[in-house]
Amino acid sequence: MTAVVEAGALSAAAERLRRLLSRTPLESSVEVKDLDLPTLEVGPESWLALAKWLRDEPECRYDLLLDLAGVDNLRRRGRETRFESVAHLLSLTRNEHLRVKVLVPDAEDPVLPSAAGIWPAADWYEREAFDLFGLRFTGHPNLKRILCHDAFVGHPLRKDYAPGQRWMFTDADMEWPEWTKQTDERAGHFETQTISIGPAHPATHGIVHLIARLDGERIVRAETKIGYLHRCFEKMSETHTWNQVIPFTDRLNYISAMINGIAYVRTVESMLGVEIPERGRLVRTILSEFNRIMDHCVDIGANLVDIGALTSFWYYYQPREQIYDLIEACCGARLTVSYVRVGGLAIDVPEDFDARCRRLLETIPPFLDDMERLINNNRIARNRLQGTGVMTREQAIAWGITGPMLRSCGVPYDVRRSRPYDFYDRFDWDVPIATDGDNFSRYLVRMEEMRQSLKIIRQALDILPDKGAVSSDDWHVVLPPKDAVYHDMESLIYHFKLVMEGIRVPAGERYEWVEGANGELGFYAISTGGGGPYRLKVRPPCFPNMAAFEKIILGGTISDAIATLGTLNVIAGELDR
């Protein structure tokens, strides 16, 4: 199991951090712990100094803020303070993850300094923690609600929030950004105006609200409002068992639904230390690569529709349709798959799985070739995509962007390569990068990633055992076979305990991450030993992408912004959760 290997390696990493910290004045105020990741605990007063040190110290260089989540410890034993703000950091140069917990002592009015000045990515994450937990970040540039609407009262992810409450939102409650109310010095000028795109606009693909101030055709200021598709995923998972969360994960990134489920169950499995048979892991790998292809197809296809190329959209939907057929044959649903279970898969793949996959390997490449013939040297596509939506490598890292977006800026960070899970280290494949950081580079990177995914699938099929279990046989985790349940009392008891009480996951916390279709998809789970999660935080890959959107589009035209929105691959289900 990977967990064992990691534990050894991580101890060294934690020890190294302790040694480095001992040379600084921060030593007395920071506590180094060794959980699944090296973990630092700090009070709010030293948080900023520590953050700055972590980012700038040449031997640390935690330059990418992956995630920042609030935690309410009201019903959790053994924690000193009620509120914590938990940040997950990544050092791209050292390829190391780190967790920093800021323990906020005041339970009535939890205040801590904002890290948005150190990692600009913290901006939206802190707004989310403020919205859901009421953590007040001092010095934050724009601290207001993000997922809940403006008329919402209270902080829903606090453990003492009563979930049944309803808050009416009317037009009058809509809070416009301050700058839209200020008069521009040239307000009378007919070319300067504030416009509102969305929430329900065909180009936003999902419901996203963009408020932009234009000077002529150029966007000079913009702000996005999200949260229109917020369905309380995190709150709901706290009241359900570990397995019951799986159908909810399908509705996060619904374009590549299965990758979410895999990321989630990997988190739970690593907390349990349960072993998945090789065949089960390979099937997961194959299907998640097919999901990646679908995701890229939809993303590029929809993006091209936005800039006026409808034919390509139809062509891209054909491989997607064929992949959906395969997925439906495996699990009985096209979109909301619910196929993975903690400990393996719900059901073995059909007998013709291998043949079906191989047929897809033959039918998909011609479509990709056609698309490249239509788009690569197309002057319109080039004019719309090349040189628009540009971000530099430094910006992308500061904004916390991962996945194809980051790779198109020249950073070869891919979780499948940096920390190979399942069998990715056994396969021969390349990480595609581009250096321009514009929309066209993102298109090129995604096209190549689809080919690399096909390459991975082919190799995975070659080593896929014909027979064998897809799930663990640990009946504390996986439901016993139905035949045994019908006829054997012991199996029935296991079955009953699993269904009625859920899997008993040992108390602790875990951050697990995989390469989602649009970046690093992480799940941060806290268990108190019960049948369900105490707290479950998703690190949605498109959240930082969307946060960066209002900065990327500055100086461009509205039509560039639409082209850029497409290449960000923002999936509202995952963005708003």
Partner: protein, 234 residues
Amino acid sequence: MSGVIDVGARVPRKLTLLQRLYYPEIVRGLRVTIGHLLRNLANGRRLPTIQYPEQRRNYSGRFRGRHILKTREDGTFKCVACYMCQQACPAECITIVAGEHPRVAYEKYPVVFDIDMLRCVFCGFCVDACPKDAIWMTRDHEMAFFSRQDAIFSLDRLREKPEDSAKAGYGYRPYYPGDGTTPPTDAARMPVLPGSGERDRLRETRVPLPGRVAGPGPLNAPSTANRAVNPSRP
């Protein structure tokens, strides 16, 4: 493991004059699209689109559609109202009220068994949870309602009807070995595997293991074999 490839460097940044002239590229593009058109005209079956109400997609035997409640040979529900599916349901769409069955062998039965199809997320967890093989899913997915009340399916609408298997076909069923769709016969019953851990540990500590408990026989037949009759019952 392999390397990193720079795809940006593969495609020249600047278009050639011929490409910038635009018209030759239109012709090249049309070659792709007209090629698709002709191929589709010649062989309509490779089209991924179907003429929906007339043509229907052939879903697999695992499709998770409308639920049915299986019945015994005498027409009573197999369901024993154990509340397992209600508990397993992540959408909380199942409501069960249990009653005492007049026949002692059946013990319990559902007086009320409602599934709110508008709440249901069709995850199949109820099928996985059922210990009596009583709830299956069909391939029927075309459910439209005129009112919310209509969407709550009660016992009479959930009862398996002969046309279910004929028209829509069975969908997601309990997980059986093999292709996952055929129920095992008694002869082909899987050997009962010990759950990892418990039995092994007992074996190591040399605690005598209980033998295989005889099952209550074929599922459809009422059985009184290993059930003590409660004298206080009628």
